[in-house]
């Protein structure tokens, strides 16, 4: 299947259906943080939505390597009540 030519769409006015999404960047890669610290509650809190769940990668844009590190960091912080397991 040929790739859709978005430039053509622009000309034909068929562009409404498509909008340009800004590419999400991994926060940890951008800030060059190699070690996701489980003691750093302030940073971790940014990946905890209201329900207390771990924010999925597809929303936050974190790369898979850092998401795995983030995951263990959040779980460790939860174990010592720095972060909630669940909130309602």
């Amino acid at each position: 299947m040929p790739r859709r030519d978005f430039k053509k769409d622009k000309k034909t006015g068929n562009r409404k259906k498509f909008f340009v999404r800004r590419r999400k960047a991994c926060k940890f890669c951008v800030e060059k943080i190699e070690y996701v610290d489980w003691k750093d509650v302030k940073t971790l809190q940014g990946f905890i939505p209201e329900r207390g769940k771990i924010l999925p990668r597809r929303i936050s844009g974190v790369c898979s390597l850092h998401q795995r590190k983030l995951q263990t960091a959040i779980k460790r912080a939860r174990a010592i009540a720095l972060l909630p397991y669940a909130t309602d």
Partner: protein
């Protein structure tokens, strides 16, 4: 000997003297067994993210210590036994830190290699623009 991160959450109902005595006791278990405490942080009274044994607050202590596996096992056993300890966590820190150092070195090596590639690319471009002006 391995590097460990240790966090102990104590009950806030004890008197400040009792709390410091308990913390010193745990430190002593480590040092008596040949462990070396590299870092000590007293985070103090913090709000718990969820209630533990009907308590909403806890007194946090953090240590980074180089200890033997057996020392940590003994410390964890004691922590589990004492009622004043609400939560505790002892995890290895050396592996992650080593990885972080390695990744940083790799990133720096890459960054050092990059300008070399970029420089020759920009020079021909500058050369081509000059004859155009002339």
């Amino acid at each position: 000997m391995r590097l460990y991160d240790i966090v102990v959450v104590l009950s806030p109902e004890e008197t400040p003297e009792q709390i410091t005595a308990l913390a010193d006791g745990f430190k002593k278990i480590l040092t008596d067994d040949g462990a070396e405490i590299k870092l000590e942080e007293v985070w103090g009274r913090r709000r718990l993210a969820y209630t533990i044994a009907k308590r909403r607050e806890g007194v946090y202590y953090y240590w980074q210590a180089e200890a033997k596996t057996e020392t940590i096992a003994e410390l964890e056993r004691k922590l589990r036994l004492s009622d004043e300890v609400l939560r505790h966590l002892a995890v290895r820190a050396d592996e992650e830190l080593k990885r972080a150092v390695k990744l940083k070195a790799r990133r720096e090596a890459k960054a050092a290699a990059r300008p070399k590639k970029a420089a020759p690319a920009s020079e021909p471009a500058a050369e081509t623009s000059e004859p155009a002006q002339a």
